[in-house]
């Protein structure tokens, strides 16, 4: 009897013990996995004011690729980028910037992208003007000075893609009836989301803000053929045209 015992002890585990510990450990890991995934999913929502560095993949892909090493943060010559802290609106350890505090200076050689070892900042981005960090939106027309008929123009003047990403659209001023208004208008196709406009806005709280593209942009339905109305004929519509 003692011989048998010694043998089973020497082997360390017997089948019953093995199954029991495996089952227990499996359950514990299952629970832990659920918990950690829950925490991760819950806190993976990016604050709309937190902007990813240039070249960042879509948020879901970014979170699968980013190793949170901070090489982009240390590569940034303007101290724009930060690593997110716990409880702070971006998944812990991932890089972001707040445009109102320090905007992206749009370096031509894009050092942050070059430093990224994981490709969560896409190395295919070589022209910073093609970056899509977000889209500037003139979100508060009521308080924007230009909408009051003044010539503030600051957001327009600081835009690195002036007259392209932000234009001033001339309009008749209905209030005075003989003045003009110059309304800052963002072209979402060319805006890089660098945030210089938001940073420079003279109001206490910026009237123009950079938002993530998925919040800033609308999207036409795929079946919608009005996208190309001038070339679309009634006949094509009736056929159920796909563009």
């Amino acid at each position: 009897m003692s011989q048998v015992n010694r043998n089973s002890k020497a082997k360390g585990v017997n089948r019953r013990q093995f199954l029991a510990t495996t089952a227990k450990a499996g359950c514990a890991m299952g629970l832990l996995g659920l918990g950690v995934s829950g925490v991760a999913k819950q806190s993976s929502h990016l604050d709309p004011m937190a902007i990813r560095p240039p070249g960042a993949l879509d948020e879901q892909d970014f979170l699968s690729a980013c190793v949170r090493c901070g090489l982009c943060v240390q590569a940034c010559p303007y101290d724009t980028l930060k690593l997110a802290r716990w409880f702070e609106g971006a998944p812990t350890g991932t890089p972001y910037f707040t445009a109102r505090t320090v905007p992206c200076e749009m370096c031509e050689d894009i050092p942050c992208v070059k430093a990224c070892p994981s490709g969560s900042l896409d190395h295919a981005l070589t022209n910073i003007d093609e970056a899509k960090m977000g889209i500037a939106v003139l979100i508060d027309e009521k308080n924007c000075l230009n909408f009051k008929g003044l010539r503030c123009d600051v957001c327009y003047r600081v835009c690195p893609l002036i007259d392209n990403a932000i234009t001033l659209e001339r309009q008749h001023n209905q209030r005075s009836d003989h003045h003009a208004m110059f309304l800052p208008t963002v072209n979402s196709d060319t805006c890089t989301g660098c945030g210089k406009c938001e940073h420079a806005c003279v109001l206490e709280e910026a009237a123009i803000k950079v938002l993530p593209a998925h919040i800033a942009l609308g999207k036409t339905a795929t079946h919608d053929t009005y996208i190309n109305t001038e070339e679309t004929t009634l006949e094509m519509l009736n056929k159920g045209l796909t563009l």
């Binding site: 510990t21 450990a25 499996g26 514990a28 890991m29 832990l32 996995g33 950690v36 995934s37 925490v39 991760a40 999913k41 806190s43 993976s44 879901q60 892909d61 979170l63 699968s64 690729a65 980013c66 190793v67 949170r68 090493c69 901070g70 090489l71 943060v73 240390q74 590569a75 930060k82 690593l83 997110a84 802290r85 716990w86 409880f87 702070e88 998944p91 812990t92 350890g93 430093a115 990224c116 070892p117 994981s118 490709g119 969560s120 190395h123």
Partner: protein, 299 residues
């Protein structure tokens, strides 16, 4: 220190020795009885400082943190565990990350896998302090979790990216937390280290590094074939004082070496911290290079 010696009359029966490893201190001197402990702390601090002099003083030797870094602006280094997680999400990273992970894996393959745990990892500071405090407060032994839980956790950590598509473990991974706090000012993640400290101190002895950490588990797997090992070369001199068992973070690795046929600690759970060498008054343990040893024996 000598005051403690004269103050031996304590009520608890087991408390006749005033200080842990007093025999070794008497025999080897205080310095030699803490030699590897100090060398380890120096090594941990050196790695940390090599990273820290970048952001603190503008001397860029190592950029990044323990998850991924760049040595002297050219050589990529990255944590194999986070690289594996990224691969498991289905994202194909830049070659820098892959090469970096291979370099680190190769290094620890040669240096001995869990050498990372005891000589580099900042969490070791936290868990060693918890263990030290346990000993000081004479907290009772706790029920032990199975040691192989870490391999289950490793499997979980690698499985979760497959299911969720994101590197879930990196939200709570304690290994990069201290570096993030010191190098990037992201101190609010320190709650994770506080949790581990409390877990190790009050709930279960050596719970994190010795039972759960998936990073350690991966390095243990890497270190199976490493040439450098601690060996109980003088096992016959062992007087069963149990000091090494008291201090060893992986005490299950000691018995086969001390009482079995092979004096070498071949179990890859051994972190090669060398504390057993420090605290042994009988000078039982030594670091040995098993490949050199084999070559010698063949001659």
């Amino acid at each position: 220190m000598t005051n403690g010696m004269s103050n031996t009359k304590m009520k608890t029966p087991g408390a006749d020795q005033t200080r842990f490893a007093q025999a070794a201190i008497d025999e080897l001197g205080w310095w030699r009885a803490h030699k590897f402990l100090f060398l380890r702390r120096a090594s941990q601090l050196c790695v940390l400082l090599t990273f820290a002099i970048g952001p603190w003083m503008g001397l860029w030797v190592l950029k990044g943190n323990l998850s991924s870094s760049e040595l002297l602006g050219t050589i990529p280094l990255s944590d194999p565990l986070v690289t594996l997680q990224v691969l498991m999400t289905g994202h194909l990273p830049e070659t820098a990350l892959l090469v970096g992970a291979l370099l680190i894996a190769l290094f620890y393959l040669l240096a001995g896998g869990r050498v990372f745990c005891s000589w580099v990892c900042p969490v070791n500071l936290v868990t060693d302090s918890a263990s030290w405090l346990r000993r000081k407060l004479r907290l009772p032994r706790t029920a032990e979790m199975p040691r192989n839980l870490r391999y289950y956790l490793l499997a979980l950590v690698l499985l979760l990216p497959l299911v969720t598509g994101i590197t879930v473990w990196e939200w709570v991974n304690p290994v990069p937390v201290l570096y993030r706090a010191l190098l990037f000012g992201a101190g609010s993640g320190l709650w994770i280290l506080a949790m581990i400290f409390l877990l190790d101190l009050f709930i279960s002895e050596r719970a994190w590094c010795g039972h759960l950490c998936p990073t350690g588990a991966l390095f243990a797997l890497l270190g199976k074939a490493s040439p450098v090992k601690v060996s109980a070369v003088n096992a016959s001199a062992c007087d069963n004082c149990m000091d090494c068992f008291e201090v060893c973070p992986e005490r299950q690795v000691l018995k086969p070496a001390l009482k079995g046929d092979n004096p070498m600690i071949v179990d890859s759970d051994c972190t090669q911290c060398g504390r057993c060498i420090d605290v042994c008054a009988q000078r039982v343990f030594q670091y040995q290079n098993r490949i050199a040893l084999k070559a010698e024996n063949n001659q």
